[in-house]
């Protein structure tokens, strides 16, 4: 089955063609047009600007993804229908609906977070259920238990800010750029514990609680207080690498601890990462280390970098499993849902 995937949830316009038999996924094309540089000067995505750029980019991106074969061999169209920014979502969804109508091909509305999880299937590995997935992005931090395809149980989630949001906001407090994740990671990379004259210690919120929930708002506030006090004692640029390092460690420590604990409790066969924050190198490293040490018999999966951030190949992959079950939505009925929860 050949699926055209379309993704416009936030600030990437993407289209992809993925061929699959359910076991192997061949990404024929995955075109991503990013607006990140345009939004960086505003310190975040500007909804109206994003929508206009999506409108400009979507047709060339879809055409490039289809390539010379055009629409001929497409079996279904899958589009991310939420969660996301309504103005951005609408662009991709209108295009998907029109294509479904014109081509007379079935249409699938895919949840954007589900698509992030299915990025792991693009690695063509056999994935055994039950699966535990840590989904971390700018808007989400969730531990999701999957007992089969399309079966999601949220066993833990953030009580306030998402991990990606914590990176963004603490980066802002330190005067670093947007997006905050890569900015913090780059500063943290300059720091080594051994040779440092300055080490800051930050809290690990909720790390020891018996549930699987997260909280990052308190960490943000702790950084705010630390920055306020330290500003008077040191030059900020001298201590920023140490602060960035500790922020990253604090976030990663909590994510890993809760994921390992949940994987043990639910006795899963596979543990995976998904979402934009899973592109963070330190998180990936620590995840693999923890899996090898704490859960040596359990399989794990980390999506390749290119499929961690928003892309349409992951939407097509998730779409495949809906299509296999004939779980379609007619173009007349497909609606975007900016608050869609798994």
């Amino acid at each position: 089955m050949k699926i055209l995937g379309i993704e416009t949830s936030c600030d990437e316009t993407s289209a992809a063609v993925v061929l699959s038999d359910g076991r192997n996924f061949e990404v024929k094309s995955n075109i991503v047009s990013s607006q990140i540089k345009i939004h960086a000067k505003y310190g975040g995505v500007v909804p109206e600007v994003a929508a206009r750029i999506h409108v400009e980019a979507i047709l060339p991106v879809v055409e490039a993804a289809l390539g010379k074969d055009g629409a001929k061999k497409i079996d279904a169209v899958a589009v991310a229908a939420g969660p996301g920014l309504i103005t951005s979502l609408l662009v991709g969804n209108e295009v998907a609906r029109i294509l479904s109508y014109l081509w007379k091909k079935p249409l699938i509305g895919v949840n954007h977070m589900e698509a992030h999880i299915y990025a792991n299937w693009l690695l063509n590995q056999k994935i055994n259920f039950p699966v535990l997935c840590l989904v971390v992005s700018g808007g989400h931090t969730e531990l999701i238990l999957m007992r089969g395809h399309g079966k999601y149980e949220v066993i833990g989630e953030t009580r306030d800010d998402a991990a990606g949001e914590c990176f963004d906001k603490t980066a802002k407090i330190l005067g670093l750029g947007y997006p905050g994740g890569p900015a913090i990671a780059a500063e943290a990379a300059k720091f080594t514990v051994q040779s440092s004259w300055f080490i800051e210690k930050l809290p690990r919120p909720m790390m020891a609680t018996p549930d699987f929930d997260f909280s990052f708002s308190g960490l943000k506030t702790a950084v705010l207080y630390a920055a306020r006090d330290l500003k008077n004692k040191y030059k900020m640029e001298e201590i920023i690498p140490a602060m960035a390092y500790e922020i990253q460690e604090a976030i990663v420590d909590v994510l890993i601890a809760k994921t390992m604990k949940a994987a043990k409790k639910y006795n899963v066969k596979t543990v995976m990462l998904a979402g934009g924050v899973s592109a963070n190198k330190r998180l990936r490293e620590r995840f693999v280390e923890a899996m090898k040490k704490e859960l040596p018999g359990v399989e794990w999966s980390v999506p390749p970098f290119e499929y961690c951030t928003d892309n349409a190949a992951m939407v097509a992959a998730a779409g495949y499993f809906h299509a296999a079950k004939k779980d379609f939505t007619s173009w007349q009925k497909l609606k975007v849902d900016p608050n869609w929860e798994l």
Binding site: P47, A51, G84, L85, G139, D160, D161, K172, S217, K220
Partner: protein
């Protein structure tokens, strides 16, 4: 009116009680820096309105809508809590673009706007409950000032 709360619990309890006076159509403008407790305050309001769902920061999605079921509400006619975050926005027009005008001031809806100082044009000529929040001297202490109504 000015208040000082020693910790998060006190802020939550105050907001919860505060929401009990709502009748519908209220617009709450929260103003304060990062970490001042705006989302915590909103959580308290949500609880006071009978919302059982977890209220998370809406920074990424900009706007979240919580439905209030009649059975959980405390007899009022409020059906929705709209939680808006203008942190990433540069002006009121952007909020209008994602549909805020469909909700603002609706008699069955309470709208809470974090970082309301970024979208003042939207709130001009409207009856708004303005709440200024500040970090206190001690770690968990917060200073809160309620202006209007």
């Amino acid at each position: 009116m000015k208040f000082i709360f020693k910790n998060e619990k006190e802020t939550l309890a105050f907001a919860e009680k505060f929401a009990k006076n709502f009748r519908g159509g209220e617009v709450v403008a929260l103003i304060g820096e990062l970490g001042a407790g705006k989302t915590v305050f909103t959580k308290g309001l949500a609880h006071g309105l009978g919302i059982k769902e977890r209220v998370q920061s809406p920074t990424f999605l900009l706007m979240k809508i919580y439905n209030i079921h009649p059975s959980t509400g405390s007899g009022h006619k409020i059906k929705n809590l709209v939680h808006v975050d203008a942190y990433r926005l540069s002006g009121a027009a952007e909020l209008a673009n994602i549909g805020i005008l469909d909700w603002l001031g609706r008699p069955d809806t309470v709208t809470v706007i974090e970082w309301a100082d970024k979208v003042v044009e939207l709130l001009r000529d409207r009856k708004v409950i303005k709440i200024k929040m500040e970090l206190g001297k001690k770690e968990e202490e917060r200073k809160i000032e309620v202006i209007g109504k």
